[in-house]
Symmetry: C2
């Protein structure tokens, strides 16, 4: 069996590895337009911020290791078209490659800002590691930077720029950073730290033009001109769907490739996974696009297994998420109060301000947990958190809880570990559940 994968990110490589797990004798070819596969792009902001010493650290495996696994990676070989009837793809240079099964893992792009870049140097979309290596040198020359919409990667870049001593202005059309995802009370401590660090923020404003002469010198915004030698594009992720679209493969309302529960696209023998697709939300059934690397990887594995003849279901998502935001960790599952209200979901919420260890134990950190529940069924429908440690683990926990249909009552009656060095007498999830219970 000849399996072809388009894309060398977590979806594509997850698919390639999992397909060979199911069918070790499959011929496996991966095509990527880039020079590398198997590095961690999520680490890039932290190398820019000098938390991680070098870009080399982000590479996960050598090219030889893929070869040894039976994965034939074609580097800097972009795919130009897919012929779903002929079961072939055309690669750069015009060569046709046939497949029995195709997995599209073409990933995402930053949403277009709609602004003319005038060919100016200094406008940075954080994504590719080789470009990041070059940009890192440029960062040494930058005094003033502007964030053009403050999505998650841009939010991480704010910390990196602060660490580099670069004067930073955030310009975002929303009322606070990542306003579609995070509630204002949850992001508040991050904003306070930004303020203390001298970050300028302009909420409800937009960048209207890039200006300069060869190199960026300023941006114009709805609130005036800002000097900037660097603009970080932080617009939302959109599906890199061009190939699929041209091939007549069905796209959904988000622009993501439509897939079924087995990652099959509308075209026979063509699967898709990762940020190029859209996936239904477990609570609302509304399609989502642009999730995390772990989602892309899990979807890739499911697509690869199925492409190779397996039978792996991929279920609707509840999207546990968490990230570093300056000195804080923020995270949650599914909905916050803002997003639930925006789409008209009825909810009751409760907030608890807890701590992560005994109050007297060194390293104790605050953690705020907000839980949202369905007032009729008492089921958990969302959560938001901000704290100093243990946010990712609690997000994973609540992700499993929401998928399993666990109720607030169950969380209000949960047992919890108490040991001064590692956990407080009162678990904040339990405390928040007790707060919700008061409102039923």
């Amino acid at each position: 069996m000849k399996i072809v994968v388009i894309g060398g990110g977590p979806a594509g490589l997850g698919a390639a590895g999992a397909a060979l797990g199911v069918n070790p004798s499959a011929k496996m070819d991966v095509y990527t337009e880039f020079e590398d596969v198997a590095y961690s792009p999520c680490g890039i902001p932290f190398v820019h911020g000098k938390e991680i010493e070098s870009f080399e650290k982000l590479f996960l495996a050598t090219k030889q290791q893929y070869q040894d696994q039976g994965i034939n990676v074609h580097y800097t070989t972009s795919v130009e078209s897919i012929d779903t009837r002929g079961h072939t793809i055309k690669v750069r240079g015009g060569a046709k490659v046939s497949y029995d099964r195709l997995v599209i893992g073409s990933g995402w792009n930053y949403a277009d800002t709609g602004l003319d870049r005038h060919g100016l140097k200094g406008i940075y979309e954080v994504k590719n590691i080789r470009r990041a290596m070059e940009w890192d040198k440029y960062l040494d020359t930058v005094k003033d930077a502007v964030i053009v919409e403050c999505g998650p990667i841009a939010l991480e870049m704010v910390s990196a720029l602060v660490h580099r001593g670069i004067k930073t202005t955030v310009v975002d059309p929303g009322p606070w950073p990542m306003a579609g995802v995070v509630d204002p009370d949850i992001i508040a401590p991050v904003r306070k730290d930004w303020e203390a660090a001298g970050v300028t923020t302009m909420w409800g404003e937009r960048v209207t033009a890039f200006g300069g002469n060869g190199t960026l010198t300023h941006v114009d915004t709805t609130a005036g001109r800002i000097p900037a030698q660097l603009a970080i594009i932080g617009t939302r992720k959109v599906s890199n769907n061009a190939l699929a679209k041209a091939a007549g493969i069905e796209l959904g309302s988000t622009g993501g490739i439509v897939i079924d529960s087995h990652m099959r696209t509308s075209a026979r023998d063509v699967f898709a996974a990762g940020d190029c697709t859209e996936i239904p939300h477990g609570v609302t059934n509304v399609p989502l696009q642009g999730l995390s690397g772990s989602h892309a990887y899990a979807q890739g594995k499911a697509a690869g297994m199925n492409a190779a003849g397996g039978n792996r279901e991929y279920q609707p998502v509840y999207v546990p998420w968490a990230m570093l935001a300056g000195e804080w960790m923020i995270g949650g599952i599914s909905f916050g109060e803002t997003s639930a209200a925006a789409i008209g979901i009825k909810f009751v919420s409760g907030v608890a301000n807890g701590i992560t260890r005994a109050r007297y134990f060194p390293g104790v950190k605050p953690i705020t947990v907000k839980l949202l529940a369905d007032p009729a069924t008492h089921r958990l429908i969302g959560a938001q958190m901000v704290g100093g440690e243990g946010v990712k683990e609690r997000a994973d926990f609540l992700g499993v809880a929401i998928r399993a249909g666990i109720t607030i009552d169950e969380l209000a009656n949960m047992e919890n570990v108490y040991s001064p060095a590692i956990g407080a007498l009162n678990e904040p999830i339990n405390m928040a559940a007790l707060e919700v219970m008061k409102k039923f």
Copy 2:
């Protein structure tokens, strides 16, 4: 309504506070034989180890604060007997105190070693904060110490003694520390660190005599004599059931006070909570005694609410647990392979060696997760972990999962957060579930 509480630990104070929450006009009297209430005894080993700078830090509230809450605490006032028919208790000095409802939170003692102490100074049961303050000075004079059975508190004391530069020998009849709770592979890294720190361990051996002249100078063991100016008693917790027993209140097979789902004892209007009771295990229904401070506190709250006229059920326990063990955190839920095998529970297990952040991110720690599942239903029945961070949060997570009847299949399909600074691409719980799945 006149509510009397015996005991000033987490069960007793949890009961007092929760009872007043239900019935703010109740007259609330708490009797304790000790000088203090509302400190964290769990912190004592860490003050001895100098991780925490002073015993004063362990106090949670002032005596005035309890008074202000309407809780009348009678210090150094031991209760001598309970008359369940007359609805009275007799306190030190012979005074009778009547009650409408009584909550017994008399706690635990270390199981008797059966050894004659000959009135020797140097034999330390870590429990009370005032005694700990005195013992801390004695620790400065100690060169050699012996651990007489290595229960959880004694295990924490090993680290404290190492930090104090005291040559320590652990003597335990089991094959490894806490052998009834933790699997050998989980405790292995802790033992390795002990070895590196010069701790001597004698497994499968017993202390047979304490020796000295006024002060301890040595202990005799089944493997010979050990010089020791200090012996730490680390035998298991047993119910401090003397009062209840003398009052004719029913005790169970563990010696713990038998309670129903509403913390009622066999005596009318008498409730009990915490380590003096026994509670059925959620998987086996076998009664357990001697759980954690958070269990005592939760049971106390339930007992207090019910004593005051509320209706709060306390359910069988699945016992998430976790603790610091030297540089490691160990933890789990319900059963490990050793304890499951010992009581004849059928299980399939899977182990994953994961990491807590991206492998290149500063502060990344290893974490091993072992999951046990019922081969017939695929339900989670136990877990064991050892790692450098995130063990308590995962134990809480798995505690809720086991109570909710979540299957390994669900954990194998869980979503997880990936963000380099706070979590790895592969969540170790998910990896361990995938390992179990291979064995079904």
